[in-house]
Symmetry: C2
Subunit: 366 residues, 2 copies
């Protein structure tokens, strides 16, 4: 079979990732940050943002786009806010520092917002919103990214896929989502191509700005850097609310790039070997609104009402945001993280080149 | 013609609205609040939320759903936040008080969030986000409402149309949007019915939870209080991102109802002659992130880049959120507010019954 995979202990994969990034010059704490965020993605079943990304990050460091020894600067700070400069370092350490600051500020004042400029890919936004939730706070994260989304009635990519993630403590599972403000992320189109499927209307436009159903058209746009791209949530034009997705995407640009003094998505990756994307992290200590346990119970009760509300014909389940994620996490905690052979071989190759003993570190889960 | 309308001086319409609400027992300042918000809607061309609403508000006061003499209580307050109780009064005065508090807090600390519970319809959310922008702040407002939106894969309305409004100072026009998190608001379906049009896929579901294209099906659902309703932004299921619109709608429930200790939408209007919806208002003094003029210039420059970016085939214009609204406001400022004869006759009837001399107050724009 082409897609064989073996399962590994999550901690051993983290150790491998840490070792690789330390060999590339990252300080131990920063290498650990990157490893945590990557394996959190794998643990949520988001393999595209998991340990398989190491190859892309290696390329980024080798070409100078990612500066492994960059220091994170504090540009500006108030009791409720800060602006950080990642100085072209890895996105994860800057993002973790930023959310830690937002959490500390929220614990003192009730609210905290920290923005980051001149950064690189930060992995899954949901990791950072969960950081706040682990501290008993509402967490929000946003990031912009290389432009690949067209504005409503446009044909030139001017916006990133601009995901928004939010986590709110609740039981039995947290309210949690981590979604692009485009109708789908780019990876979904690649998946449709591999599966030989045509795209639904409203996902992507060809270079002339008209809707296309051919995933290859989008892949060519990305490869050749021509006009065309993904559509905002709501699809083409205004009939399905595409202007709303476009507005929400602009909110991400405002909160990340404009509020950090960094690059909007149309200027991210503009120059060779530069990324310079921007992030935003927000924490809210909802104790400012009332008793925290009561607030969590209220929201949990509402989610239960929704889960148990009448289903549409042919449907057997209504989920709340975070339900599926909680199940996947539990499953992979028990089974170990599946790593496809292709990814494993790439990791072994990278490790070998850096003098990291992959076999001694990885523990297969039986 | 059936749809004749005459144009009136905006100030004279405000005066009429104030006089009507004062006669119904509202304090002068609260009557003025309601008049301001209603005419702001008319000035933006959102007639559905303008002075024509007075009839609905009269019904609400006559049946006891709206208590005209209710006092607004402050339940809890911190330097960055407050929770208000509207005590079943009109939504507008509570909303204006809440946004004023959020603005004051943001001016002092950088950030302010104020929630409101036990309220009634507050008109257009965009009025309140603009209040903050007029003070040089980023403004956000949200409200929940009677449930008429189904969760993804559900058929029972569990969510309101839950609009989000945001205004950010920029030039030549402010970034401004005020949009439901459902794919369309209910009024859009009524409009399609009047125009004899069928609904696009992904707007509404029949009582069995399957997509319907017949606007009458939705109107019957509303009339008979059966299952069925509007779909979240992104449409049916997950293919077009309906789960994202559903998640954003849940954010509104969290920020409005859960963070005020009030009713989630499935419990709004649950009892006869009660509404008890909830709102949230947020102000951000973006001076905490850098020089305010530079931040405004940065965002304005990005919006100009988008407006001037290449258009899709057959399209002549790319707008930023707020561009159309700014044009409509300018047009109606010059022309006066058009009031259809049907609305005018209803207003004259209401005024007469309350002993208000409509003819002496209204000034027709020639």
């Amino acid at each position: 079979m082409a897609n064989e995979s073996r399962k590994f202990e999550c901690e051993s994969l983290k150790k491998l990732a840490r070792a690789i990034f330390e060999k590339k010059g990252l300080a131990a704490d920063k290498a650990a940050d990157v490893a945590e965020v990557l394996l959190a993605a794998d643990g949520l079943g988001i393999a595209s943002h998991g340990i398989q990304r190491i190859g892309v990050y290696m390329t980024g460091m080798n070409c100078g786009r990612i500066k492994p020894t960059a220091e994170i600067g504090v540009v500006r700070e108030t009791p409720v806010s800060a602006v950080l400069d990642a100085n072209d370092g890895m996105g994860q350490p800057a993002a973790i520092k930023a959310m830690r600051m937002a959490v500390d500020k929220a614990k003192k004042t009730g609210l905290g917002i920290v923005t980051v400029r001149n950064s690189n890919h930060f992995g899954i936004g949901g990791y950072y919103s969960m950081m706040a939730a682990k501290e008993g706070l509402l967490g929000v994260s946003m990031t912009n990214s290389e432009a690949m989304v067209v504005p409503t009635f446009g044909c030139h990519p001017m916006l990133g896929t601009n995901p928004i993630a939010m986590t709110m403590p609740a039981s039995p599972t947290w309210f949690h989502f981590d979604v692009s403000t485009s109708v789908v992320p780019a990876g979904k189109i690649e998946l449709y191509k591999r599966q030989g499927k045509t795209l639904p209307d409203g996902w992507a436009v060809a270079p002339d700005g008209k809707v296309t159903n051919d995933p290859q058209v989008f892949l060519d746009i990305r490869k050749n850097k021509t006009d065309g791209g993904l559509l905002p949530l709501g699809g083409f034009g205004m009939e399905g609310g595409g202007h709303k997705g476009y507005a929400f995407s602009m909110v991400v640009e405002l909160m990340t790039a404009v509020f950090s003094g960094g690059n909007t998505s149309n200027h991210v990756r503009e120059k060779p070997n530069e990324d310079k994307c921007c992030h935003m992290f927000q924490a809210i200590d909802y104790g400012i609104f009332g008793d925290k346990k009561e607030i969590e119970a209220h929201f949990s009760r509402y989610m239960e009402e929704i889960r148990h509300s009448p289903k549409a014909a042919g449907q057997t389940r209504i989920c709340c945001a975070g339900d599926i994620e909680a199940e996947v996490m539990k499953k992979f905690e028990a089974s170990g993280i599946p790593i496809p052979d292709g990814t494993l071989n790439e990791l072994i190759g990278i490790a070998k080149e850096l003098g990291v003993d992959c076999q001694a570190i990885l523990i297969e889960k039986k």
